[in-house]
């Protein structure tokens, strides 16, 4: 069973993703920000990380940079509802920093499960 770590500050999205992924047959862990997520991954490595972009403590871009620097093969999916307080879209930047897939909220269960399957099956 593949292990997935969700890093997301929105409680509802975290809860929703957890249920979707567990029902999809994955073992799921979660963290409410990049700092905790980073710590959780180093303590208990997973096969895939799904991270939001705008979060307190450490945002998704910093999380991707830090984790990919120490674990270059790590598979990451970045998710975001768009810019906060600005007009810039950070998802393409997350992709350029090494996210294997980006997904704009709101997404459907099918979209997230397909993205997870695709990224997990892809060769590192």
């Amino acid at each position: 069973m593949s292990k997935i770590l969700i890093i997301e500050d929105d409680d509802q999205i975290r809860k929703m993703l957890r249920q979707m992924l567990e029902r999809g047959g994955y073992e799921v862990f979660d963290a409410p920000n990049g700092k905790d997520g980073n710590r959780a991954f180093r303590k208990n490595p997973v096969d895939l990380i799904i991270t939001d972009i705008f979060m307190p403590e450490m945002d998704g871009l910093e999380t991707i940079i830090e984790l990919r620097r120490d674990f270059p093969q790590l598979k990451i999916i970045a998710i975001s509802g768009g810019a906060r307080g600005g007009s810039f879209d950070f998802l393409p930047i997350a992709e350029s920093f090494g996210a294997a897939k980006i997904l704009k909220k709101p997404f459907t269960r099918e979209e997230i499960l397909n993205a997870v399957k695709e990224v997990l099956e892809a060769k590192a």
């Binding site: 929105d10 979707m20 906060r84 007009s87």
Partner: protein
């Protein structure tokens, strides 16, 4: 004697009149510049607000959509609640479209940009639009590339979906401005010089009142009952993102002309290369 005095007065006052006229024109130019700066600041503030709104709203929509999908898993196939929950998806879809429109006002994301023939894109969109309008509405196109050195494709670097949306919106706006008896919408494509391509949509409709003109590109500003007032704000955002400009000329009772200037592909590439 009177004639001579008049001539003398006229000769004496002429430089003064000329100076006043020059000063007046300078003032008008200054005021116009100020107005544009204020408009740009206002739209930029609105765009920032729209971006923040879109982010938070998309998160809420994601939760509504996701939990509805999960709830459907647990509901028996014959439960009447299924139909009601399915309606939630339709609501989310509409809300998502609204957020996309708001987001387009200030988005700077240049994903999907490629070389696009504006003349072909225009023809493609107009073929769809023609079927929507009654026969009393004439849709005329005028693609002017008379000089052989000018590319008849009117190439631009653009996201075709977004520019297509702008075309559709402007033509639809022109149609809605026409009286019930019909009228004419003229769409023109030309090279005005300075590496630009100009697309104009002109209608023979009711025109726009001067007091409405200054609010045209503001989100949620509308004079129509059923409209949301996001269309022109969205067009402004999209054109701005394509490093272009949009302007409106209108005369009440005589129609409106919306002009969009976009950098010709070579000019756009040169522009980005120097940055």
């Amino acid at each position: 004697m009177d004639q001579r005095r008049k001539a003398r007065v006229s000769t004496r006052s002429s430089p003064r009149v000329r100076r006043s006229s020059v000063r007046l024109k300078a003032c008008e130019r200054h005021l116009e510049r100020e107005r544009r700066v204020l408009q740009a600041r206002k739209l930029s503030a609105i765009a920032a607000l729209a971006g923040g709104f879109a982010h938070d709203f998309n998160n809420m929509l994601a939760a509504i959509n996701g939990f509805t999908e999960l709830a459907l898993d647990d509901i028996p196939a014959d439960s009447p609640a299924r139909e009601n929950l399915t309606e939630v998806f339709a609501g989310v879809k509409k809300a998502r479209h609204l957020v996309d429109q708001i987001h387009a006002i200030g988005s700077r994301n240049r994903r999907g940009f490629k070389t696009v023939s504006l003349s072909r894109l225009l023809e493609d969109r107009l073929s769809h639009l023609r079927t929507r309008f009654p026969s009393t509405v004439q849709l005329q196109t005028n693609v002017c590339s008379a000089v052989p050195t000018q590319n008849p494709d009117f190439p631009i670097t653009a996201n075709p979906d977004e520019i297509g949306l702008v075309i559709e919106h402007l033509v639809q706006n022109g149609f809605e401005a026409l009286p019930a008896s019909g009228g004419r919408i003229t769409i023109e494509l030309r090279y005005p010089g300075s590496g630009q391509i100009e697309l104009s949509v002109k209608d023979t409709g009711s025109g726009i009142a001067p007091q409405v003109m200054e609010h045209l590109f503001e989100p949620f500003f509308t004079t129509r009952q059923k409209a949301r007032g996001l269309g022109l704000a969205m067009c402004h955002g999209i054109v701005d993102k394509h490093r272009g400009s949009i302007s409106v000329q209108s005369q009440l009772g005589h129609g409106t002309c919306v002009k969009i200037c976009l950098p010709q592909e070579d000019a756009a590439n040169n522009g980005s290369a120097t940055k």
